[in-house]
Point group: C5
């Protein structure tokens, strides 16, 4: 098994290092890292990690800015990551932390670390323990900030 | 025949369980379940269910959040699901319940349950009874909330 | 020659019936009908009509709602229909009637009927009389509401 | 060499005729014309001109309306034209004139004529004189309205 | 090794020349230049540079206008460039300078020059020194304007 880590020089936090550290903490697996300038370079980097370097799953790490133009970049990158997955039948777990998701730099760094770590755990689950994923289905998991948790079951509760 | 169920840990209601329960209630068919972190992971999960696990149709279940960013995620996921269908010539029935579609958690749970159940019935119709679908053509069917119903025929009524 | 008709149970007017009636009125041709739940299911339905049931052209009929979310659905469906055409080198004529295009239900039904009928005529022209299409080039044709008509030629008229 | 002209019956100006006239004025080349109902039908028409009728380059001519919905149509058509180019490794020069680009019908007709003519010249340059294109690189060329022209070089001018 | 340079006649600054000059200053490598009318013509130009002229990496240089319509063009071009990369497993480094990114023409020219030069350095790193890219991961690199720089590490700093 081999896990690919695609990250950027644009990001203001070393999410690649955080991902590798968490993966190594939990499992013994080969890791390939590939750094590109920005998030729009991630789709082809992830696809190359899969097709040219034999990765079984990839994490695509990035930190889009807060401007309107940056949101469009993130949209283009996300769409490209989905296309790359469909072309390879391989998961690419997108870990994007938007600069406007945190009130200050300290929290932003914390969020980038936490979201990366929790998605690294998702990657390990998808690769080794798919049944653990299914046990978490519909439970309102979030990566970084607090989990939303499951809502109460309906079926009889609403008169709608 | 085999039906695939792709769902997420992000959702706050166990839509996967609801789908499986309804399908089993109506028909005897093999079911494959595949749980991923979020809705943007659904397109490749659905494609893998079709191409690697032999599913003849897939339900893609998810619960996008209410923020602007979540709506963009839903758009990206939906576009990916359409691409996955075109690449496989296989239906993937998208069942998304947006968090802002219901006024409170109870109704949201009820809506998630009902929409899943009614789309499970669509899946069964598409797979076994396509003629039943055609009998419902143009009748304003909705999944979850009340049907809109057919409108009055025109052709002579309007002087527009 | 075979014409495919893809329509939905979501639509509130039986556009599929209107299309078939108009086609049969004008030409003798084989028709395949395929009904799906909503407009996002139309791209793969159209592609299956072309690749699995041998249709030479397809009409994709739908009636998107008036909400913002419905407009996004229509955008995703339209993009998918264009992709399906490019993958098959075959025309899929999109006939969408947006619920907010008409002031009341009666006019909406009339519009759905008229737009379907006029696009059925386009389908017949594309299939049998491409020269008739070219004679209409640049003449401001509309389907349903009144034609916009051609504008006056420029080249000398403006001092811009 | 063969040039394809894809145009629409929706447009209110005969851009196809304008394109053919300008091409014939400058070079002796085979021309194939293909008229479709609207701009969303242009991508597959252009692809068919390339793959089924042997065109080496295509002009895709259209006139989107001024409403919000029309802008979305133009976006979908443009995206499809780019996909068609990538699938064929062949240029499709998009010539769209938006109805709200001109203050009145006369100017709109003038603009449709001029933009088509100037893009026909681009098509000829791309096909026969690529070096002429490169000599115009970075010079602020516009098609229809006045050229923007080159801006002054920087590198030393700004203290930013 | 061969580097492709795709640029436009629409741009108001000769970004192609700036890119070639910087590349030649640093390395000895074959360069192919391909000029097209506008940014929406860049995706197929870049793909042709890769598949027909043997380029190992491409720079796609453009200068979108400030209007809403221009932003949509940039979005379509960017999406196409990502698709072209996925179809070729080859990097295409997008260098777009939006006209509204600078307060005046002088600064705009300066920005176009600087962003092109800094991205030319990225291209060289990706091609020859991928390890140098990884050393810059997560350091907040920007092309043109000042680098944002890395933010302080979290993990313990926030009580969120």
């Amino acid at each position: 098994m081999k896990i690919g880590i695609a990250d950027t020089t644009f990001a203001r936090y070393d999410m690649g290092r955080a991902a590798i550290k968490e993966i190594r903490r939990v499992v013994s697996v080969e890791i390939e890292r590939y750094t590109v300038p920005g998030i729009k370079d991630l789709p082809v980097a992830a696809k190359k990690l899969i097709e040219e370097r034999g990765c079984d799953i990839v994490m695509a790490l990035g930190m889009p800015g807060a401007a309107e133009k940056d949101k469009m970049c993130a949209h283009e990158a996300s769409s490209g990551l989905i296309s790359a997955q469909l072309m390879t039948n391989t998961h690419i777990i997108e870990v994007f932390v938007h600069e406007d998701e945190a009130p200050d730099e300290k929290t932003l760094g914390w969020l980038a670390e936490m979201r990366t770590v929790e998605h690294a755990q998702n990657v390990i689950r998808l690769l080794y323990y798919p049944d653990k994923m299914t046990r978490l289905a519909g439970t309102g998991q979030r990566q970084g900030y607090e989990d939303a948790g499951p809502i109460e079951s309906g079926g009889s509760g609403s008169s709608h």
